[in-house]
Symmetry: D2
Subunit: 152 residues, 4 copies
């Protein structure tokens, strides 16, 4: 079941051109590039969600990093050159220190890939686990709640 079938509206849609240099001999995006598209989408999502105070701000101003614990990718269809890619980002889990995001990559109506990630908030110096700042956690929880409502 994909996100659109559930009627859940994505939190955020990140769009990018697929460049010539993203593609391999087959004329499709190389797998190693796809993981980078996912990361671009997630970084953009955080900046959107936190009004520009995403990864970079948290690291440089709060000494907080949120490295990935896991990243599970399923590839459904090749990402083709010469067409845009839209990556929908969903909040799927909010813990005390951890957050789960899902990224769904589409070209037109076709789902090309899905990726579920889990990240943990850490002190950037000690790399010890830290609690998610309360205001960020509330924002994330609100995101999750809003998605229980179906569109139709």
């Amino acid at each position: 079941m994909n996100a659109s079938e559930t009627g859940i509206k994505p939190r955020y849609i990140f769009e990018r051109k697929i460049f010539f240099g993203d593609c391999d001999l087959l004329g499709i995006a190389f797998t190693g590039r796809i993981t980078n598209f996912v990361l671009e989408a997630i970084e953009s999502f955080w900046d959107d969600l936190l009004s520009g105070r995403g990864w970079l701000f948290l690291l440089t101003e709060r000494n907080t990093a949120m490295p990935f614990v896991s990243m599970d990718l399923e590839f459904h269809a090749p990402v083709k050159a010469g067409a845009h890619l839209a990556c929908e980002v969903y909040v799927v889990h909010v813990g005390e220190s951890s957050v789960g995001l899902k990224v769904v990559g589409r070209q037109h109506d076709l789902i090309c890939f899905e990726c579920e990630t889990k990240s943990v908030f850490r002190d950037a110096s000690t790399f010890g686990k830290v609690k998610i700042e309360s205001s960020i956690r509330q924002t994330l929880l609100a995101e999750m709640g809003s998605k229980i409502q179906t569109v139709g």
Copy 2:
């Protein structure tokens, strides 16, 4: 349970330097680079297993591609700059058309990440599933068998 605990010897070990350009603000390899290390290790594994007749040969001479169906990554410890990374590659599944590989990334004795992948052999023109060439399949099965023996 990691590979070394089972006493299974890896099929192949791919080594690479971690370059300055692989690392982010934290001085550790960026997650998007890690997925590329996994892909370099897998490409090198195929060339080693098939005596240089890996991805490139199969595509250009046999019109066969083996795109990934899934890639599940677990990150255990940061990959640090200034140290080599060793990626062990294991054959964990051999189907009629599909193959499962596991890559374990280490720096010294520390496991930094593990990645399980599944790929399907496809006709590079039609992208239809094809059976794995018999000689390749035998080689893969022999790899799996050899690993059932524990070292100790």
Copy 3:
């Protein structure tokens, strides 16, 4: 003398976010990423100039490639994370088979880098030099002419 000082209007401006993964330990875009920004800008320029019939179209539909002969980069100021980069693209040379483009990368009013490139149109199979298709050459020449007019 930079482009803005001459009053020449750029043909095309390509904008992109500088991602966390583009940056190194210093928090600035790694040099190897900057060359990729230049290439993204040039690919986008061609698609804009030729109404979507740029690199990919020429290669797959006309069997024409335009590999680079040279790429001269000057770095004036670091490209910083957390700010957009604007790459202006100018046509600076049009030969029978070759084209020269200049890319100027800015963040806000600061010129971060300049890159002059030369490419040659080639048959993608034989890699022999080919003449630039007449309509494309006219378009390029018109671009050059239009830039002799100063803005002020």
Copy 4:
């Protein structure tokens, strides 16, 4: 005139496999990847020259960075997949604060590209120019001298 014609022995040769993911639709290394090969070669050169105390050490232990001022690339022949690339690194200029390196990329006997770079030693915090540490400068000058001797 290429390096081998002068009979100058390279200071250092960096070798790497050309991976599938380095190559584009034409089956040759994408230009943006080539600039990264140059950077890998230069980083490896410094670590070799300074016994492991290259870019990373200078930055983290001496607070010294050596960002590029310029990078001039000439592409002579495509870098092909399925063959190793050897990058020769030469010291071509040593100033008070600046150093010029030349990288020549070959596959077998064919020169694929040449790149001349200039870098300036800078304080990593203020980004102000600093003098090259005396022992490093002597090592660089010795390198230049050794290359005036021709082989034949």
